[in-house]
Amino acid sequence: MSREWKIKSILILVFLVVMINAGVQLYNHRHYMEPIVAGPGVTKVAKLSDYCEGLKGTAADTNVFFLEGKEEGGKALLICSTHSNEPAAALTAFIFVENAIIDKGTLIVIPRFNNSGSRTTRAGDGYPLYFEIPTQWGNKKFRMGNRGASPLDQWPDPDVYVHYPEKQLLSYLDIRNTNRTWPGRADGPLMEKVTYAAMQIMREEKVDIAIDLHGAETMFPVTNCIVAPDKSMKIATMASLTVKAKEGFENHVEPSPRNFHGLSHREIGDYSDTMPFLMEAPEPFLDQPTGPKTVDLLLEGKDPFLLSLSKKKMLFVPYDESGWPMEKRVGQHCSVPLEVFRQFSKRNPDRAIEVKNVPHYAEVVENGIGYYYHDPAKADKSQIYYE
């Protein structure tokens, strides 16, 4: 063998080791399934493709859990994992699906709304592929996803994303972002089909309230808040004031901008009778000037650089050595929707939505998130679904 081919052989070997090692991890992440135990409140499990034929057989299809009360009332839709790098939303969805009992009305929960996004990663930022939540029966493992859908499911991106139907020019990346593709269309790109299917749920099921759960940077002003358009503003304001008074945490209200299109809190209200709310919990992991993007940073929210910035008053949330742990974020995501349901029910008693057996902020902070997850190994197999 010549010297040239000896060198080439070594290089090819290194190439194969790197590619196979990375490829196996990425393949396993894309195909990892999270078990969810349908709780006593779940009465029906549908698929998003039941509302948009074009999603059938794609990685964008996902479970839609219906929790119907004995008494008729209003209907609420909880949209979680719009951005899969904001995992407090999915963790909250698992708590609702595994525990909630509905006395009146119907609650619809989509734990992995951008299912494709939850099966990809942001390798350039060194995101972890998984994280684990401790429970009483062991650790429960979740996928850590990315903000947009996987390019394996929707590719290529255009130079500029022209929003449908408003024709506003948006960033090319936003064509894979399910918080820019509302209200969507049945024959559009895959992520527009996802949001179209959710709009169809709201139209066909006559949903009164839609809540989209998110996480946001501590350096971004729209954080730790409820974003609401005019039609949802009264309820959002009352919910914000009530959780502050009764539960002791800050959650201010931000108005939905009228001329910024594609967002759930804008288009759901404009293209249906449903009242939209978008909830942001602070997520230090998303901030740019942090240390490495580790699982500890994701779960604890402790970072020395953010602490330094906090002392210079450059953050939009209170921040100290205790960080911003996942329990606080999930606790807020449990309490604020429950308060929104309560405020809506007070104003619309004939369309009331009464949800019980879901923990409030203080309970989640005290007991931990895993306390509310059920062991799939001990559950009836017919009650286990995979996300």
């Binding site: 040239e4 060198i7 080439k8 290089l11 090819i12 290194v14 190439f15 790197v18 590619m19 990375a22 490829g23 990425l26 393949y27 894309r30 990809t120 390798a123 390019p151 394996l152 590719w155 290529p156």
Partner: protein, 51 residues
């Protein structure tokens, strides 16, 4: 998978072919050989539908 997506996969396969060809005819520069292989990685992962 729509037509444009299929075309992009075809372009990726073409680029993999070109990079392998350049790698095979490179005689002297180890640096260039190494770079050809690094550049191939994302194309191969995409064509194999891994990432």
């Amino acid at each position: 998978m729509n037509l444009i997506m299929l075309l992009y996969y075809a372009i990726s396969i073409y680029l993999i072919g070109m990079l392998i060809w350049n790698f095979s005819i490179e005689k002297k520069s180890i640096n260039d050989m190494f770079l050809y292989l690094i550049v191939i990685v994302p194309f191969v992962l995409r064509v194999l539908r891994i990432n």
